[in-house]
Each structure stands twice: as structure tokens, then as C-alpha cells.
């Protein structure tokens, strides 16, 4: 610790603490704004129906063992026979999600909104932080790190002689961005638990394709082994009652 930097206390009072507080407040603000612009659109009837089919088929798959074998077989045929099973999607009829997206302006609009609600605050916050708090050595990590972390922690100041554990204000912003998730989930409830990375993933998976999930559901339903559990329940019930009768 020989080469300890002497930092001005005003950096703490005017950079470190305000920056952290601003990050928290912006996080809260973003939560409420995204809540405001969330839209409830009426989904298409066909999509609703297919979603419901998938839910029901999933129920059948996950708790097939609870119904008698005969009922299970009847249901499986109903879902997945090759002629008119409700999970069966005729080839060539599956709509192309891309084409669907372009034909439906609402969908594109919705996507834009999602995109914007993520990117705009991000950019704004970053610009804000850059404008007000750039170029300070604002913090110091209380444990030693290797040189590799220099580019991560000292973003914005080009000094190769400073110890790696010192953090520039811009990097402190990034640390806050990732580390405050726990605090947000405490004060905003679990709805906020969906962080940016997840949102990004979701964006990749837009244009949800029901026919694909129908096909997947059909495949997994085909390989379900039916093993009726109810006979076991007679023994379980006996055990329960024996305990009660004592």
C-alpha cells in the first residue's frame, strides 16, 4: 500500500455517492417507465388457441401417470395422430415468422418499443454519467486484482502506473449497472429480476413461432412412457391411514 493515492474527499461527496444514488434512481425510474409503456394487445385467435393447446399437451405430458392407461392412450392419439391430431402441423403450412412480422405492423411496433425502452435509457444514462462524472478515479476495489482487469476497471483514464484496484468513475458506473440487480429486486419486487441480458435474449427470440412449439410438444409427447402411478397410492394411503389409526 506504499503507493496509495491521496484522493480528495470532494470526489467522494460529488462523484462516488451521487453517481451511485443516480444509478439507483434511474433504475427505479426505468422500471416505472417500462411499466407505463407496456401494451396489452389483443392477440390473434389462432395464436391463443395454439398456446392453449401447448399448455394442455404439456399438462398431459407432465402428469400423464395420473390417469388410467386407456384414457392416456386416447388422449395421445387425439393430440398426435398423423391425420388430424391437434398437435400435428401439416408440412408447408407453417407460417414464416419473418414474413408474419413484416405483415403485422403491430408486432414490429411492439418490438421497437421493447428495443427503445432498453436502449434509450441505457444511452442516456451513459451520456449523463460521461458528462458529469468522467475522468475521476472514484473508487478502489478492496482486494487485489491482476493486470487483466485494468481495461475493465480503469475505463476512461489512461494511466498505466496506477494500481489496478483503483476504479475510474465510468467503470464504477458499469459495476453499478451489474451489481445493483440484487438491490433492485429487493425494492422493486421480483418483476425487475429480468435483467438486461435476459431482455436481450428475449429480443433474439422474438417472432415466437407457435407451430414450432406444437411440433416440439408432439415429439416429446410421442416418447412419453406411461406408467400409471395410482396403484402405488393404495400403499401410500395405507401408510397414511396406519399412522392415523394408531
Amino acid at each position: 500500500m506504499a503507493e496509495d493515492l491521496v484522493l480528495d474527499t470532494t470526489i467522494r461527496d460529488w462523484v462516488l455517492i451521487p453517481l451511485s444514488v443516480v444509478m439507483v434512481l434511474i433504475g427505479i425510474l426505468r422500471y416505472f417507465v417500462s411499466k407505463l409503456i407496456r401494451t396489452f394487445q389483443n392477440p390473434d385467435g389462432k395464436i391463443v388457441k395454439e398456446g392453449q393447446v401447448v399448455i394442455r399437451a404439456r399438462n398431459l405430458r407432465s402428469s400423464a401417470d395420473f390417469i388410467p392407461p386407456k384414457s392416456f392412450r386416447a388422449r395421445r392419439t387425439y393430440y398426435s395422430n398423423e391425420e388430424n391430431g391437434i398437435l400435428h402441423v401439416p408440412k408447408g403450412q407453417a407460417p414464416n415468422p419473418q414474413a408474419q412480422m413484416f405483415s403485422d405492423p403491430n408486432m414490429a411496433m411492439d418490438m421497437m418499443k421493447k428495443n427503445l425502452s432498453m436502449i434509450i435509457p441505457q444511452t442516456l444514462t451513459f451520456a449523463f454519467v460521461n458528462f458529469f462524472f468522467s475522468g475521476f478515479v472514484a473508487a478502489k476495489i478492496p482486494f487485489p486484482l491482476t493486470q487483466r482487469f485494468r481495461s475493465m476497471l480503469q475505463n476512461g483514464i489512461d494511466l498505466s502506473t496506477v494500481d489496478v484496484s483503483y476504479v475510474s468513475s465510468r467503470s464504477w458506473y458499469f459495476l453499478n449497472l451489474f451489481g445493483l440487480r440484487g438491490l433492485f429486486s429487493l425494492i422493486l419486487g421480483e418483476e425487475n429480476a429480468m435483467d438486461d441480458t435476459q431482455r436481450m435474449m428475449q429480443m433474439g427470440g422474438f417472432g415466437f413461432d407457435p407451430s414450432k412449439s406444437l411440433g416440439a410438444e408432439k415429439d416429446s409427447l410421442d416418447i412419453v412412457q406411461h406408467d400409471w402411478v395410482l396403484p402405488k397410492f393404495e400403499q401410500r394411503a395405507e401408510a397414511v391411514l396406519r399412522k392415523l389409526a394408531k
Binding site: 402428469s63 438491490l183 429486486s185 429487493l186 402411478v229
Partner: protein, 119 residues
């Protein structure tokens, strides 16, 4: 509305013959959420304390384990030491939120340490 009815109670089967466990998934989810909240809060507080005490390096991480362990004991006491009627195993009580909590801990540790000690 239809989806509402569905998210209620599902069963989960552990493939054992006679002892197959059927659990109330809604309550299990609630329990793990309670654990998550308790743990996150405790680790944030722990981070602040570590920062005020001026721990650096390994000491801080040892303190992290300490706080984690104390919280676990507290949660176990809250479950009246009968883990099996609230969770399907020790795993969720012992390890859930270990890494996510570390993130919060380190951030608040750094914050408190910086505010108190380096200036």
C-alpha cells in the same frame, strides 16, 4: 384467466418408487423467493459492514462466507429446523444465490469501503 388457473399447483416427481414426493410448487416457489430476498438483503448489509470495518482482500471474502453462513442458520431456524417440510432438499437452503449475492456483496463492500476509508 385460463393461464391463471394453471399456474397453481403442479406436481413434481422424484423418480422413486414408493416415496415419490408430490409437492406444492406454488409454495415451493414462494419459499425460495423468501430465501432469495433474505439472503440478498443480508449480503448487502454484510457488504456495508465489511466496508465500514475496512476489510480488504481475503478477510472480506471470509466475512462473506460468515454472513452467508449466519443467514443460512437464521433461515434454518425460521424453518424451525424441519427443512424437508418446506424445501425439497438442503440444496436450495444452502447454496441458492451464492454467486448473485456475491455481486451485491462486493459492490456494497466496495462502496462502503471507498466512502469510509480511501478518501
Amino acid at each position: 384467466m385460463a393461464a391463471d388457473g394453471n399456474s397453481g399447483v403442479f406436481s413434481q416427481k422424484l423418480k422413486g418408487d414408493f416415496d415419490a414426493q408430490y409437492i406444492n410448487a406454488k409454495n415451493a416457489l414462494n419459499n425460495s423467493k423468501v430465501i432469495y430476498y433474505s439472503r440478498t438483503f443480508m449480503l448487502i448489509v454484510g457488504g456495508i459492514i465489511a466496508g465500514i470495518l475496512g476489510f480488504t482482500g481475503l478477510t472480506g471474502f471470509i466475512f462473506y462466507f460468515l454472513v452467508f453462513a449466519v443467514t443460512t442458520v437464521g433461515l434454518t431456524a425460521k424453518a424451525k429446523f424441519s427443512i424437508h417440510s418446506y424445501f425439497d432438499g438442503w440444496n436450495s437452503v444452502l447454496f441458492d444465490g451464492f454467486l448473485g449475492g456475491l455481486m451485491s456483496f462486493v459492490l456494497f463492500w466496495t462502496f462502503a469501503y471507498d466512502s469510509v476509508h480511501i478518501f
